[in-house]
Every structure is written in C-alpha cells, then in structure tokens.
Amino acid sequence: MSNETTTTGPAPTIYVPSMAALSTVLAHGARPRRPSPLSASLTFGWRALLKVKHVPEQLVDVTAFPIIMVLMFTYLFGGALADSPRDYLQFFLPGIMVTSVVMITMYTGVGLNTDIEKGVFDRFRTLPLWRPAALVGMIFGDVLRYVLAAVVILGVGLALGFRPGGGLLGVLGGIGLLVVFSFAFSWVWTFFGLVLRSEKSVMGVSMMVLFPLTFLSNVFVDPATMPGWLQAFVKVNPITQLVASVRAVMSGTSDASSTMWALVWSAGLTVVFGILTMYRYNRR
C-alpha cells in the first residue's frame, strides 16, 4: 500500500515552540497580490496532479477500465454486428472512446464530494480567490485523465487493427472534441457532487444518467435498426452528436451538423451547470 517504509530511527526531538522563530515567520513583509483567475485555476490543477502522484491507484479508472471496455465489446459484438471484430472496430472505436471518457467524468463529482466531506474545501473557500478557480482547476486535472484514457484506448485500438482514415490530425481532432465535451460535462458532476450528501449517492445518480446516455446512442449500433421512439431519443442525445462528429473527424471526413451540435451542447452544459454549481458552491 504505502510506498514509504516506516523507519524506527532515533526518537524524534520534541518540538518546543520558540517565540522568536514564530514571530519571524509572522512578520514577513507585504502580502502578495492575489493570483489571477487563470493562475489560481492552474494551481488547483497542480494539486490534482500531486494527488495522482501520491495516489496513483486513481489511474486504474482511466486505464484498466477503458481497456476492458474496448476488448469486451469488440469481441462480444464484433462477430455479430460486422463481418469481423476488426471491421467492427473501425466503426466502434471512436464510440467506445467517447463512452469510456464520458463515464470517467463522473469521478469529478465523486472527488469533489470527498474533498468537501474532508473539509479541505473549507480552507479554499475562505481564500480571497476567483470563486470558480478551485473547481475549474480540479476539472483541468481531470481533463488530463481524459486525455490519458483516450490515448490508452487509441493505443489498444491500433493494436487490434483500428486504422483511422483521418490520420494523426483526424485522431487529434477527435480527441480534442471529446475532451472539450467532457470538460463541459464535468460541470454536471460538480453540481451533483455539491448537492448530494454522500459519495455513494453521487455514484448512483451518475450511473442513472450515464447508462441510458451512452447506451441509447449510436455508439454500439446504427440507430436505423431501432424502433422509432428510440430513434427520436437517440437523435437528441448529445452523446450521439458527439460520437458522430468524432467518428467523422477520425475517419477523415467531417460532419458539420453533428460537430456544431456537440459544441452547442458543450457550451450549454458549461453555462447551465457551471452557474448552478457556483450557486451551490457559494451557498453551502
């Protein structure tokens, strides 16, 4: 578990507070100016990275889980839905990449909820800072996890025979779109992370939202095979728009309407849930 071993060296010297030493640190000259919103957010992002350094187990969520998803679905559906797993993968990989990364966004809410339970946010909230910085920074940290997950999935896909027509640029463009959307979607979870009482209930709500959203979409199969009422839902589902645009970009074409909708959804989610989140954050 721990990477430090406890050593029983010489007994630690007993701390005796010294008035002189304390008054030196108390008198330390002028206070600096408060940091800019960007610099404060980046500092909080740095905190997220430090946490990854100390608790590397967190990365299991963003590596092992996506790998399992890709392998499982490629071989489960590949033969049935396409001529071979390899053919299916050309269609399926962008979709499973979106699904996995969007699923990972829920850890933003879980993480925020635990941080708040522990009281760390009490200190942050008494600092004279641009208020959203703590949350924006936290999501910056999460964005790195999204990129990592996307890259891992891409790696597995390439190994299994995924050959994107759009080349490197197409792949980068697809991952870019996905990360923009996931950043926006994370605000949904910061809101629930603040509103709900426990880590468990945040998990529960996340699952209830994420399962229908990712499965009732064009990720696994072509919506043309679905009944009309389901097609109607699938069509308005933002995940469908996102998958369509990522798929197009990665295959070297473009789907202007889907891309636009994916971006509109991103902007809308950020604004609506960003505002709701900040309202709750200030009100607690």
């Binding site: 721990s2 430090e4 630690p12 007993i14 701390y15 005796v16 507070p17 010294s18 008035m19 030493a21 304390l22 008054s23 030196t24 640190v25 108390l26 008198a27 330390h28 206070r31 600096p32 100016r33 408060r34 940091p35 610099s39 404060a40 500092t43 909080f44 740095w46 905190r47 430090l50 946490k51 100390h54 608790v55 522990k118 009281g119 760390v120 009490d122 200190r123 942050f124 909230r125 008494t126 600092l127 004279p128 800072l129 009100r283 607690r284």
Partner: protein, 338 residues
C-alpha cells in the same frame, strides 16, 4: 513592527441559522476586540462551529448580521476573506499531499510566486518543528503535527483574524501546550484569534474574554476571572476513610466553605465548591481551613484534591443544566427512546 489593530475585529448581531429542524444558532451576539484572543466556550452541539463558519464566510446566516473588520460577511465576503484565515475543527489540509506541498500550494493560492512560496513554506515548517516531516504525506502525521501544519497553513499570510475551531481537542497535554504557545505568539504579533473550546482551562489560559455558548446562544460573557467568580473559583474532591463519617464531614464543609456540598455515588466521596461569590479568601485558603476543621473533628481524609471549576460546573451554575448529559441521564434518555 507588529500590526496593531484597534476597535472591533468581529461584531455579530442576532445570528440565526437552522439545519432542517435543528436550530444551531438562535441569535448569537458577539463583540470581539481586535488584537486579543477571544474564547467561545461550549459543549458539543452548542453552535460553536456554526458560528465560526458563518463568521469565516463559509455559511450564510438565516438572520442577523456579522461584520469582520467592518466588512459584512455576506455582502462583502471577499473583503472579509482577505483578512481572515480558518483552521477548522476537522483537518482543513489535504491529507494526500505532503506538509511542504500543502504549504506551497497555499502560498501559490495566496499569490506568492513559486520560489517565494517554497521559501516561505520552509520557514514555516522550521518554526513549527516540521522540517523532518516536510516530505511526508499529512495522513502519516501524528495528531499534534497535523494541528501544527494546519495552523501553519492558516498563518501563511499572517491574517488579521484567525479562527481556531477546537484546536486542541484530542491532543495530549504536550501537544496542547505547544498549540497554546503558538496561539500566544500569533496574538503577540497582532493577529486577533477567535478560539472555540470545550475546556474552561484552555479559555482561561489563552483568552482575554470568553463567551459561553449553549443551544445556539451566548449565555454569559466576560473575562475568565469574571466567569469563574460567578461560579466559584474551584472545587474540592474528598475521599474519607470511613463512610460513616460522611454526614459529619458534609456538615462541617458546608459551614467552612459556605457553599454547596455534593455527595458522590461513592459512599466515601464528597465534592464541594469553594471561593464562591462574596468570599474574600482565595480557594486554597478556604480549602485549607476546611481540611483543618475536618482534622479537628477526627475525620480521616484519605484523598484530597483542589481543582478549577470544570466546564460542567460553569454550566450548572449558569444554566442549571449540565453541559453534557451524565451517564444516568443518558441511560434515561435511551430508555425513554425505546
């Protein structure tokens, strides 16, 4: 060279706050003079943390007003935040990070550049005796070290007002006196400290003034001396050799101390209050006189202790109810709930 504050650091009028059906604050009034240690004394659930959270801009009051150095904590929260700092009852430090990382992180958030915030962090770690633990995760710190790093983080920017919510609860006597020394240094420097505690002794040691809080209200306010003399300045605990002599001992103590004497469940034990109102003798002299009277009457005392009034005794005197339910009352409540 220290910044002296004049006037009031905190003014609160009629603060109320409920959580569902629980009325945590039922109209708290406070006036905390700048440059002093002010103690909020109260039992579990009295509303100490809620008061601190309102004053530290973390929680909105349902009613009433509070100002910190003249800034309203609701409408001018940002200006208030620039002057205050909080060490919460539960760790307000990131346990996954090391002590050094925590301080550097805060330094950056307060606007220090990276080298400056590292330097400042190192100085603080040295002054707080944490140099050796600098690169260890805070979750591996002892309770006393945790408190120290938490307070170090709170004075990183030398705030004008520092909130310490039960800074010594759960600490051993040595760690407790270390925290006390730190608090003394902080206030000597000119920072106002609002300290909550469940221990009269702690408030007595540190605070210039104390507000006693119960059921979300301030029920008494004054200097430690004023509060204690309203209660009696101490208590004697006696154990006799012969339980048969207890009635006689009780009678003698009542006359000698002119105060209340309580018979304990233990048939040889008695507790008496000394140094109550209007007495011009100090507690030890009164106790000595009582002992002499007992000896003259041939009553053998096996064990004798003179103590400060406990929070419980202050509470009994102020409210006619004990601060915490006694064992028997708790059993009764449990029984009733069944």
């Amino acid at each position: 060279m220290s910044r002296r504050n004049t006037g009031l650091a905190i003014e609160a009028e009629g603060l109320t706050r409920s959580f569902g059906a629980t009325r945590a604050l039922a109209g708290v009034d406070l006036q905390v003079p700048a440059g002093t240690v002010y103690g909020l004394l109260g039992p579990n659930g009295a509303g100490k943390t809620t008061t601190v959270r309102v004053l530290a801009t973390l929680l909105r009051p349902d009613g009433g007003r509070a100002r910190v150095f003249g800034h309203d904590v609701v409408t001018e929260a940002d200006a208030a935040r620039a002057r205050v700092s909080l060490t919460g009852q539960y760790a307000s430090i990131d346990e996954d990070l090391t002590g050094l990382e925590n301080l550097v992180l805060l330094g950056r958030l307060l606007g220090y550049r990276k080298p400056a915030s590292r330097e400042r962090a190192q100085h603080l770690l040295t002054a707080f005796g944490l140099t050796e633990a600098a690169d260890r995760q805070v979750k591996r710190y002892s309770g006393g070290m945790r408190r120290r790093i938490d307070i170090a983080a709170s004075i990183l920017n030398t705030p004008d007002l520092l909130f310490l919510d039960e800074p010594t609860t759960g600490l051993d006597p040595r760690s407790r006196s270390q925290v006390w020394e730190i608090v003394r240094a902080v206030v000597a420097h000119g920072t106002t400290v609002l300290l909550t505690t469940q221990y009269l002794e702690e408030a007595d040691q540190l605070a210039g003034r104390i507000a006693v809080v119960d059921h979300g209200k301030v029920i008494a306010e004054g200097t430690p001396g004023e509060l204690k003399s309203s209660v009696g300045s101490g208590t004697v605990h006696l154990r006799l050799r012969d339980p048969g002599q207890r009635p006689e001992a009780e009678r003698l103590l009542r006359t000698a101390l002119a105060g209340s004497v309580q018979l304990e469940p233990d048939p040889v034990a008695l507790t008496a209050r000394v140094g109550g109102h209007g007495s011009d003798l100090d507690a030890s002299k009164q106790a000595a006189r009582a002992l002499r009277d007992l000896a003259r009457a041939g009553i053998v005392v096996d064990n004798f202790a003179l103590g400060q009034p406990s929070l419980d005794e202050v509470f009994l005197a102020l409210t006619d109810h004990p601060a915490v339910p006694t064992e028997a009352e708790r059993d009764e409540q449990l029984e009733a709930a069944r």
